[in-house]
Every structure is written in C-alpha cells, then in structure tokens.
C-alpha cells in the first residue's frame, strides 16, 4: 500500500505547483523602463589582511526610482500578495553567494533583500487600482569572486490572492 501512496503524493505535489506560483505581472520603471547602474568597490583600500568577504565586494546603488506594477483587473479590489522573484541564474553572477539586492521603498511596497533564486514578499494588501506604484531605491552588493562580467537580469513579480 505504501508503494501506491508515494506516487499519489508526488502527483498532488505537481498539481499544486502552478497554483503556488501566482500570476506573473508586468513591472516597469518610470521614466525607465530599465535601470542601468555603475558599481564601485566597497573597500577602496583593499588589503590582504581584510576579510575577503568584505574586501571583494562592490556595490551599485540607485536613487529612488518610480516603479509600476500593472495589476490584472481580476485582482483589483482583492486582498493579494505580490512576490519579487530573483532569477536563479543571472548573467554575470556565478552563484547565489555572489549577489544580494536590498531595497527601500516609500511605503506602498515592502522593503527587503534577496539573492538569486529567492522569492520575497513585496506587497500585501487590497489593490485599490492599477497600476500599483511606489518609489524604490536599490543597493546591489556583489562579490567580485563570483562576477564574470556585466550583470543583467529582470526581477519579476507574481501576484496571488490571499
């Protein structure tokens, strides 16, 4: 009997996955639509005596930039959660330890931090209207040991009803 139950459990799991993923929604920056950032070494005075975890970091920061999330009509007026998803594979970054993004907002979206492959709560509440907008400032912290060139990616957003 146990042998039969195992495949059933696997099948249910597979069926549930799409529902957990949420609906992908459109995002863009204004006047954007993209952000292009120049980074700098976090520690200009690199020394072998420093902790390599600090000495190898470089950072890129953005000013507060207006960001819009276009909410499908079906979710307007609904209590929802929106998640920011970092792609697991990011060109220019050779592993999740090589990059962390931290962002601040001005109250509509939630502040937070994420590494490649992570799904982080970005908004929760009732959608009054679309698009949903706020101003977001990013701080990207990269480890040069995991960098092999220009970093370019598109964090995406998923919405699901609570």
């Amino acid at each position: 009997m146990n042998i039969h139950r195992i495949p059933c459990g696997l099948l249910l799991g597979l069926l549930l996955l799409p529902a957990l993923a949420g609906t992908r929604i459109e995002s863009l920056y204004v006047p954007g639509p993209n952000l292009n950032l120049q980074s700098r070494w976090l520690v200009p005075d690199a020394r072998a005596k420093r902790d390599p975890a600090q000495a190898n970091l470089f950072i890129a920061e953005s000013a507060f930039t207006e960001m819009l999330l276009n909410i499908p009509a079906a979710y307007v007026g609904k209590n929802v959660q929106i998640f920011l998803i970092m792609p697991p594979q990011i060109p220019g970054v050779s592993g999740p330890a090589g990059m962390e993004v931290e962002w601040r907002t001005q109250g509509v979206f939630l502040p937070g931090k994420a590494r490649p492959g992570e799904r982080v709560l970005f908004f929760q509440g009732v959608i009054q209207q679309s698009p949903l907008r706020d101003r977001v400032a990013y701080k990207f912290q990269m480890d040069a040991r995991y960098n092999n060139g220009q970093v370019r990616f598109d964090p995406f957003y998923e919405i699901e009803q609570r």
């Binding site: 459109e26 863009l28 980074s39 070494w41 072998a48 390599p52 000495a55 470089f58 040069a144 964090p155």
Partner: protein, 200 residues
C-alpha cells in the same frame, strides 16, 4: 475563405490573396502582441556594470620611510650584511571585477649610488629579504628577495586568475652588503620610488 471574405469591409477585399495575407498578418500581430505582453511582464531590466579594475600600493609607514644602516668601524667590509631599520611591509593589491584578467606589477626605480660628497656606494650593495605578511586571509604572493639596480626594476608581478582581489607583498628587511671598505661618512639619502601598475 469565402465566408471570411464576406465579413471583411470592401476596402479590404481588393483580392482574395491580399485578404489572406491581411488575416494572417493580423493573427501574427496578435501572436506577437501576446508574446510582447508576456515579456513585458518582466520588462524592467536591471543592468549593473562592474567597477573598473584597480591596483593599490601600500607601505605601512606614515610619510616617506628612511632605512638606516649603521656600520661601525669594526664591522666595515667584513662581508657580513648589515640590516637596516625599520622593516617595512609592502603590499600591492589588484582588484578585478568582470571577465578580463589583470596583471599588476610593482616596480622600483633607484639611483645608481648613495653619495657622500664625491664618495659613493653603488646601489647594488643594497638588497632585501622578504617574509610573508602574517594574518592575511586574502592570500598573498610573497615578494621575492632581491637587490637594487640602477634604474627601474620589477619587484613582483601578479596576474589575476578569477574575479576578486589578488595581493602581493612582504615584510621587507633591507641590507647593506658590507663587502667593501668605503671611506667613512654618511651616505645618502637616496630615494627609491615604488610604483604599481596594471594591464590591461
């Protein structure tokens, strides 16, 4: 296709072939629009340009250090090298982000001699030994032992093999060879300039 033709406005029915083309184009456009919408859902791209490579040269001394060799009359020319003071810690760092390896080179440029009036001691009489810098988790290529020559000379060169910081350095103790008896006097100071450069 006849049913489709009848539903189309007259100006769009110039020929059956054209209508087919129009209809197909509309479908293609619609399909394209759907794809664009799908990609717009993740259209906010972020691009981060790595910082340019950098090279850093550091000597752990405030200001310009002066190495002093005191040779007594009894020691003069006995062939036993005389250590100078202080010992100095030299360090060169090269920082690489991005795909291109960098080579960093530390160079010293010395005069031909130390002078005391008309008397001189050739710069080749001054050498150094180098010891690994203690407590350097960043890893360090140790500067090799050597002796000065007149003009520029390479002290150490390192090439990155990956992204991140690479270091070369050492705690350098300088020596006067003391193999020749020179006229008594105070020689120098002579100025040795160290530079670090990188390529590309």
């Amino acid at each position: 296709m006849k049913n489709i033709d009848r539903r189309l406005p007259r100006e769009m029915t110039a020929s059956c072939d054209n209508q087919r083309t129009v209809v197909r184009k509309i479908f293609l456009c619609a399909a394209t629009a759907t794809l664009l919408h799908g990609s717009l859902a993740s259209a906010a791209w972020i691009t981060i340009n790595p910082p340019p490579g950098a090279v850093i040269l550091r000597i752990n001394f405030a200001g310009t250090p002066t190495i002093t060799f005191n040779v007594t009359a009894a020691q003069m020319g006995n062939g036993i090298p005389v250590a100078g003071t202080p010992t100095l810690e030299f360090e060169m760092a090269v920082q690489r982000a991005g795909p291109t390896d960098l080579t960093a080179t530390m160079t010293a440029t010395a005069p031909a001699a130390l002078f005391s009036g008309a008397n001189q001691i050739p710069i080749t009489d001054i050498s150094w030994t180098s010891a690994a810098i203690a407590g350097a988790p960043g890893g360090t290529t140790v500067i090799p032992n050597g002796s000065f020559v007149a003009g520029p000379q390479t002290i150490v060169s390192i090439t990155t093999t990956a992204g991140g910081n690479f270091y070369a350095g050492g705690d350098l103790t300088f020596y006067f060879a003391n193999t020749t008896v020179y006229t008594q006097g105070t020689y120098g100071p002579a100025s040795v300039n160290y530079t670090a450069s990188r390529s590309p």
